[in-house]
Symmetry: C3
């Protein structure tokens, strides 16, 4: 084993190389001292997992101490904790500074080469320095995305219908429950898995046999991941791997991992919108690192983050919108219709909603909203007003008003199309053309699902961001119309 | 209110910042004087809509006077007017220079803070300096895209069938007409809306209550937009917002907003073509600003614009293809089949076409072209010859000939597949399996539409640019084949 | 005609311009002498096809001699021949150096302006210097991609069913064979065409009438192209045009030309994976030219090439994975299921496989593998172990093990879904609902094909690279489920 001092000298060289060579690296103070523990981590892992270590070396974390982070003017600050605990104040935010936090509650903590290490770093850990962000995130739908699926009887029926293996039993299709692996690779890939510690295993490594925690449902980076420290969420979903670059989180590719057609075609719509057109044509000249993020100076057309969560300012520094990591806090209407559009829910725990038909859905099948659980008109108006301020950075009042009028009508009409389809489904159930026991496992029911989850969403998201192709022929009005015509023919059988 | 002189000093600083910081900004003379009117606009709008003003500051317009623009050697000139009217000659092309033009014909003109302003800048306005471009554009299908939809009985029936809300009346689906908002968010999003002035409204602004024109169907950036000055078209479709960057118009993301699958899969085909492969892998080294645009020097693989409208030269300056803003002027065959491919129409006003069955379609349902309205073989040959010259910049004669042979066959065979499908539809109508009153509102008819509008187009566009996936399994031959098999089974019912 | 010396001086200027101006150009020695033959080529072609010549001027080939290429340290070497033949040793790798090789076997060789030229440069030609790469490529499925389609009775039936024009004969659809052009624009676009010399033709050129070989099925850049020199393959598929840039081959856009949904959704899955997210957000800072390619230093998230074929090292130069141009050499399981997943075939000539039912498929319809033709468990384990080493550059052991467990389960379950579907198809054939003569030409059969070729592939590829949307609602589990439900209903008819 080489002495640590030599290794460290080598690393400094590497770090210097990174700073000059890696154009994409976050700019920051040129160096920060590494803790003894982190130096020990790097000693082995720099040769075991060099890509991982290099990624971190290019991060702002590798070059900043807690003290320096706190010294910044408030608007430029990337930490929100009022104070940063002792150990983190004076060293770079290295391996051990994150993987060694809150050991007492981490069931995935284990003794590793003399140090107690957590495998999974959670929002609770990140919240040590990024407190407000962790808190906001925890209140939103993202941190609760797993429970919102699993604890909701309707959605759970959908998950089971879709992800289960089907076999033939005589002439009938039969199915059980989806496997943990398939859930992890499908629904829970975005919603998050429940990571538990099954025990400990010994694995052969380049440094000999070592013991590690044996984690169920790992790896997973879904936004609502249940972590072994009891917390929910995953910061790495949007701030991936060990660089944690704000420039990655701000680019639409990140949101596009999950918010993609056919169910959530936000990414598709953005791509074909004028915002997307300008972003893809000009983003190499954007400044994707600046905090605050100034419209017109740092970016031209907005990305998802500009409108939905970033701290946005004018070039003169005046704040246009405060940062929020509760992604449900800015929108006023939820266009991801379940099954109709509705005011945003008050709480991120949507599985707690109960509508007047007893279902955990924000609206009944006939369109009655579960208003107690949803924000009221005043809150809606306040939020729309705030969003319009962001639009105003680049658009006139007439432009903005006109846009949101079209949007409102589109959302309402998509809802009406879903209503008509739901009435046909109801007729089909009455005619015994399908069995309502599971509303997702027969062809007529699946046509109904496509109608609200795919096609009405295409119309609503298309109208939200002016993605006209998606709203028209690509899973929008055309499919709403054709699918309804086909469903109508099928429910005429026997008349 | 701060004195204008102070504001202007501040602006110059801002402008200087932009020039050095914004890598994507168009290069040009470092400064041009602003008119008094434009300075007044900026005084307020720089704080009201800073993104908009910053965008303009990074434009060539902000740094050039008409006089300077005219001084350039002809091939490098970006203005085509022989002369530029007095006011525009000596100042930067600022807010008022565009929003204050041709006030007499602008129904959207209004008194605003002491100045008479038009809300909507039209091709007629841009044509003050960019005369040839505005003229060419006006002659093409783009400027006429709204009329080509609305004044054509067949297409109007499609628009109504697709965009209307459907309700249940007893056991039947009934529908009315699509709403203005839905049209704006779907068909008219690309084709353009008809903007009218409904009256005037008072709106609260940061500067107190102000009166504004109340515009119907605004905002809209469709290529065939009908403007309040009586003109048709929208330059901002491709030269978006206030930077008007030629580098944006030249990148395929711009065309990709509308020319997208399933109906016009040009963008999809480009993406998977070798041209696209090279563009996405190498375009960061392209010079997207140069005029003329030299193959091999400024770009490697072409973008849409290279082949379809840009002024393309060799590196030695010799001209390969003249610029044209009539996008129908270069192609010889129209592969966006309605319902079959056909020679390009002579006029951009395709709603004036009448075929021998009395329909406003360039070909009858049995395949007879409305030849009087279409270019002849000589013109076709001339155009193909011109296009081949562009290909020749990078490809040999054998390559080019071979490619267009395959293309011709593919287009013809896609037409034959549509013919077979149309015969089946005809049979279905005869068998009363569907009612021909509206040819787009029943499942069998919708299968027929998919055949020509989606699948045959995938084959034709795929063959035009070597997008093999689109031509095969992604809405191409596979879907043509499977959809036809299904239609055939359905029309056998009752035999 | 200008004297060659003047032209050459001009060219050197152009080359110098390219080197400084074209950021994307490959870095290398600043100049290498051109052969007399190549200078003659350029004399005409620089004005005839300037884009082509400029592209070459920006290539490494234009700036390196064989001798210089051989001098590099082994790990950095881009040529693998032990020796390079005389003529190529001392001049730049110019037009004639490639288009003049192996003339004796090139049926496309012709006398052109005093020189004997081959039209089509083949892997055999490239193998003069890149011997190992040509050999490896020749052993894989890519070089055999045309025969693998054409010589396999099952796949040939699919090709014929899909690509043939269908006509109505009375009430029946009839079809013949696909045309050569359509094959070239569809299946053979990726798989490669058979280029033959039909004779010679005279064409008018800018330099007067000239004779050229008349090639059938040209142009084509499919990976299994049959070349006029008797070799199979096409290097230009991934190293396109005359720049041959390794930076293009390493970017996923290149693989994405063919490995695209719905049949091979690798590209779609990559785009929505975390690897893709990071690549698209950060690749402008990647070093895409370095050999060897160091994880963490040259790239962060991997591209297709990193895991599937590149020579990957650690930043300290130690080799993580050797380069391989046999793209089937690294994976252990073939998830492009035909119709089920199976161990990778031993030979790239998959048409030689014969399963126990006599079909040229690696697995029978009931799931029995043709094990003699497939790699065994030991080889599978060895390969998986090698791949995990690549993963380990950035990921921990627990992460990797967990991922491949989920992957294995997903692949197995997708296979089970295909099995259920195949049993239903079998029932349909027994019930005479379809005729098994061609298993691809009737609706029920086409539903079966979609199940394994589109939807099971979406699940398998999605699980391989964590593309959760593709595995769930975009042609994955949802479509597997809904298509099966519909097929089940259809095969209940008459019960």
């Amino acid at each position: 084993m080489r002495p640590i001092s030599i290794l460290f000298a080598a690393l400094v060289t590497v770090a210097a190389f990174c700073v000059t060579e890696t154009q994409g690296a976050e700019k920051g103070p040129s160096a920060a001292p590494l803790s003894e523990e982190t130096r020990a981590c790097i000693e082995c892992h720099n040769s075991l997992n060099p890509g991982l270590v290099q990624d971190w070396l290019a991060s702002r974390h590798a070059k900043t101490t807690g003290e320096e982070a706190l010294k910044k003017p408030e608007a430029e600050r990337r930490v929100s904790a009022k104070e940063i605990p002792g150990a983190l104040r004076t060293v770079a935010v290295g391996c051990y500074e994150c993987h060694g936090l809150n050991q007492g509650v981490h069931k995935d903590n284990f003794l590793h080469a003399g140090y107690r290490i957590n495998v999974v770093v959670s929002p609770k850990d990140c919240g040590t320095c990024h407190t407000t962000e962790a808190d906001q995130y925890g209140e939103g739908k993202k941190a609760n995305a797993l429970a919102n699926l699993d604890e909701n009887r309707v959605f759970r029926a959908l998950v089971d219908a879709v992800g289960s293996v089907k076999h033939l039993k005589g002439k009938r299709l039969v199915s059980g429950k989806p496997s943990a692996s398939t859930l992890n690779e499908t629904c829970y890939g975005c919603h998050g898995s429940k990571i538990t510690v099954k025990g400990f295993v010994t694995r052969a490594t380049d440094a000999g046999d070592m013991q590690f925690p044996d984690l169920a449902n790992w790896p997973n980076q879904g936004v609502g991941r249940n972590n072994p420290d009891g917390s929910s969420g995953s910061c790495t979903s949007c701030h991936p791997r060990h660089r944690f670059a704000i420039s990655v989180a701000r680019q639409p590719y990140t949101c596009g991992q999950c918010h993609i057609d056919p169910d959530v075609p936000a990414w598709n719509v953005y791509k074909e919108s004028k915002h997307g057109n300008i972003f893809f044509s000009s983003s190499r000249a954007y400044n994707l690192d600046n905090v605050p993020w100034a419209a017109g100076r740092d970016f031209v057309a907005p990305t998802c983050a500009s409108c939905h969560n970033s701290l946005v300012s004018n070039p003169d520094g005046s704040i246009v919108a405060e940062r929020s990591h509760n992604f449900g806090a800015r929108p006023w209407v939820r266009i991801f219709g379940l099954i109709y559009s509705h005011p945003q829910p008050k709480s991120g725990k949507t599985y707690l909603i109960k509508n007047s038909n007893g279902l955990q859905l924000p609206v009944t099948f006939t369109g009655k909203p579960a208003s107690t659980f949803l924000i009221d008109r005043d809150e809606q108006a306040k939020r729309q007003n705030q969003m319009e301020k962001i639009c105003q950075s680049c658009h006139s009042g007439a432009f903005i008003k006109g846009h949101f009028t079209d949007f409102d009508v589109s959302v309402r009409e998509a809802d009406e199309m879903v209503k008509t389809t739901t009435l046909l489904l109801s007729r089909a159930w009455n005619m015994k053309l399908a069995d309502s026991a599971n509303p997702f496992d027969e062809p007529i029911e699946q046509m109904w699902l496509r109608q609200w989850l795919f096609y009405a969403n295409a119309v609503r998201f298309g109208a939200a961001m002016m993605g006209h192709g998606q709203a028209t022929f690509r899973e929008g009005w055309w499919d709403l119309t054709a699918n309804l015509a086909e469903l109508s023919e099928r429910t005429k059988v026997g008349e």
